[in-house]
């Protein structure tokens, strides 16, 4: 099969860039440990309360060490259950100081949902029977909308919350 000289140059350059590119994402993944969330931890979607993190009293934001938080959420159509405040009112906004490390843990009791803290790297599929987890440092201040970004039914667009990062 005949390859034109210019095509050889073109493909060498292309394949070379591709190899470099793959080396970079491989390095970031396996040496730096930046993988997308993949915990392979299962849970019974009809009995999520059996899991310590998803007991009603453990939902919402908890400070576990100085500047370290765990944020537990149970998703259902069309709501994120983030626990209740002292007056028993459902929490819709959580507040953390800038620079906090937050571990987001979420599961669903019904259909597939999304969980995206818009404007951050926290972007996960939430599937029945699985626990989704992602830990990140909230480096920027501001109000970030939590939005369900996988279609979950006719009220899909009404499923949201807010993360407020303050100075």
């Amino acid at each position: 099969m005949h390859l034109h000289k210019y095509e050889k140059i073109w493909l060498t350059f292309g394949v070379g860039s591709l190899a470099l590119f793959l080396a970079i994402i491989g390095f970031a993944a396996f040496w730096k440990g930046t993988h997308p969330q993949s915990h392979i931890e299962v849970i019974d979607p009809q009995n999520v309360q059996a899991h310590e993190s998803f007991k009603p009293e453990n939902l919402g934001l908890h400070e576990v060490a100085d500047g370290k938080y765990i944020f537990n959420i149970v998703a259902s159509a069309f709501n994120y259950d983030m626990g209740v405040d002292a007056d028993g009112v459902p929490v819709k906004t959580i507040r953390v100081p800038k620079g906090s490390t937050v571990l987001y843990q979420i599961t669903t009791i019904d259909v597939v949902h999304g969980f995206n803290v818009a404007g951050t790297n926290v972007n996960m599929m939430v599937e029945p029977g699985h626990i989704s987890r992602f830990e990140t440092v909230m480096k920027n201040t501001g109000e970030f909308t939590i939005v369900c970004n996988e279609y979950c039914g006719i009220g899909h667009h009404l499923m949201y919350g807010t993360v407020e990062v303050y100075e």
Binding site: M1, H2, L3, Y6, E7, W10, L11, G14, V15, L18, F21, L22, I25, A28, A29, F30, H35, P36, Q37, S38, H39, I40, E41, V42, D44, P45, Q46, A77, F78, K92, D110, V111, V112, G114, N116, A118, G119, N121, N123, M124, M125, E127, P128, G129, H130, E143, T145, V147, N149, E150, Y151, C152, G153, I154, H156, H157, L158, Y160, G161, T162
Partner: protein
């Protein structure tokens, strides 16, 4: 390419045109839904008669993504096979069966969606449960397309037996590659529909394995987009050169590119599932690497196309560095529309690299960036090429001519499309980078600055969407003209010839056992262990949910 092109008999034209009718009815219906979506999302319009947003979203995705594409492609490919290797009476009968099975499936699914019993979007993720008729409809469409695939296989087989030792015509070879890919890939979604969804939707199975169903869907979902793209590549490689008055750049390289696309189309579905919790990250990474192998045939294609353009221009005597480029037939819509499609594929392909990039995916996954991406690739690159094919294929089949006036309307259509899509797709990309979700009805969420910015981009999407709908009306008008009213005459079926000093294609390129064998080996490599893992670590299954979709 063989020089003995065949004449398409009337009986065959009728078959090919039937697929085109469904295509353009789908364009009108699906396009209208798209317009309504962008209007609703602008926040300034609500749907009449209590129609639910997600019903029209499902119609839009199913009708344009699954119906329009599949009908156009199968009809176009039948015409390519008929033109290059011929069609017997028996094959035509079976092809009609394929058509009607697909139509029955489409109508079943469409009615189920329209009455609000299947607002599950075109990905129909479990455990949302649609009415069983929706899944049966999908199964019929797939089975119909398989019948078409086997007719194509048979067509080439019969031709080969009559032409011992000759290489198959390039376009026939390409059609076979595409249908092989389609068949192997759709086995995944068909098994999900038939083994998982149908018994579960009927109540015979209590629960469904959600992750398995998603994995089977995406095993099919990525090759699905190549199934749309390859017919566009067929036109770029083997038809456009003839339209611009040139020759095929390299028959062998074109075949090799198609083979590579077959090999690396299927073992890659995990790059749609990167942010899912239940799949081992190492296997996600392996499939990401396999995904990126597609860059090689894409670069080969880009080179071939521009080399053809330059060679043709130089042969016509344009000596300056870019003189050949200026002299391309810009006023011929058969060239212009696909050319703009090619240009759109540069940002489209680059965006695709972002999407499949293991880590970067988290930034854009399920944001409207993704919607912007496939409106560049599918709804610009692919569809403009399909329009470009329509301008000569339809009059060729109906015995009419693409008149200068219709050609001019086509050029206007192409520019309208380009402007509308530039506005819509660009604002989708930006809104997605800012975190705006896809597949969502208008919502102000918790309010605030972030959401206000999203909505401002949704307003520009409505502007783009409106312009695009004008383009759709114009295209449907042109189609009707070419079908029923354009003056009688002869329109060429342009197929490029090999250049005179072309070298013979190596025999191994047509060793089907070899290529199918490697395809299956790659699939087994990429999927065996992770699928066993999924089965081994599966959580309790999911019961069906009807109420979230309003059933």
């Amino acid at each position: 390419m063989s020089t003995n092109e065949l004449i398409i008999p009337k009986k065959d034209s009728k078959l090919y045109m039937s697929f085109m009718y469904v295509t353009y009815i789908s364009l009108l219906v699906g396009g209208l839904m798209g317009l309504l979506q962008t209007l609703v999302r602008s926040g300034k319009y609500t749907l009449p008669f209590n129609i639910d947003y997600y019903t029209i979203l499902t119609v839009h995705g199913v009708i344009l993504g699954l119906v329009l594409t599949t009908f156009f492609i199968i009809g176009f490919q039948f015409s390519l096979m008929g033109k290059t290797v011929g069609m017997t009476d028996k094959q035509r009968k079976v092809a009609w069966l394929a058509f009607w099975v697909m139509v029955v499936g489409t109508v079943m699914a469409a009615i189920t969606i329209l009455v609000g019993e299947a607002s599950v979007l075109y990905t129909f993720y479990a455990p949302l449960r649609a009415h069983p008729a929706f899944y049966f409809g999908l199964a019929f469409v797939i089975v119909g397309s398989w019948i078409a695939a086997f007719v194509n296989f048979r067509q080439l087989y019969v031709w080969k037996k009559a032409h011992k030792g000759e290489k198959s015509p390039l376009l026939a070879f390409m059609v076979i590659i595409n249908m092989l890919m389609w068949f192997i890939a759709s086995l995944g979604v068909a098994s999900a529909v038939i083994i998982q969804f149908i018994p579960w939707s009927l109540g015979y199975a209590e629960t469904i394995n959600v992750l398995l169903s998603r994995t089977l869907f995406w095993y099919f979902g990525h090759p699905l987009v190549y199934f749309w793209l390859l017919p566009a590549y067929m036109a770029w490689y083997a038809i456009i050169p003839k339209i611009i008055g040139g020759k095929l750049f390299s028959d062998s390289l074109a075949r090799l590119a198609f083979i590579l696309l077959l090999l690396f189309s299927i073992p890659v579905g995990f790059h749609h599932q990167l942010t899912e919790p239940g799949i081992d990250p190492t296997w996600k990474f392996i499939q990401v690497v396999l995904t990126f192998m597609v860059i090689i045939p894409s670069l080969m294609t880009a080179f071939s196309i521009f080399a053809t353009f330059e060679e043709t221009g130089r042969r016509k005597g344009y000596q300056s560095l870019f003189g050949w480029f200026k002299k391309l037939p810009w006023k011929d819509v058969r060239f212009l529309a696909p050319f703009i499609g090619m240009v759109a594929f540069i940002p489209g392909g680059a965006g695709g690299i972002v999407n499949a990039s293991y880590q970067m995916n988290a930034l854009i996954h399920n944001t409207i960036w993704v919607t912007g991406h496939f409106h560049l690739t599918a709804a610009t690159t692919v569809i403009l090429t399909f329009f470009g094919i329509t301008y000569w294929l339809v009059p060729h089949l109906t015995g009419r001519r693409l008149t200068p006036k219709l050609n001019k309307l086509g050029i206007i259509q192409t520019y309208i499309w380009t402007i509308g899509m530039t506005i819509m797709s660009t604002s989708m990309h930006i809104q997605g980078l800012l975190g705006g979700p896809r597949r969502s009805n208008f919502s102000e969420y918790a309010g605030g600055e972030q959401v206000a910015t999203w909505i401002s981009y949704q307003v520009s999407q409505a502007v783009g969407g409106t312009i695009l709908f004008i383009g759709i009306i114009l295209m449907v008008y042109i189609f009707i003209q070419l079908t029923f009213f354009a003056p009688r005459g002869v329109e060429e079926f342009p197929i490029a010839q090999e250049s005179d000093n072309a070298q013979p294609a190596p025999k191994f390129l047509e060793n089907w056992y070899l290529w199918i064998g490697i395809t299956i080996a790659l699939i087994l490599f990429a999927y065996t262990i992770p699928v066993f893992d999924i089965l081994k670590h599966s959580p309790p299954g999911s019961i069906p949910f009807d109420w979230p979709i309003g059933r």
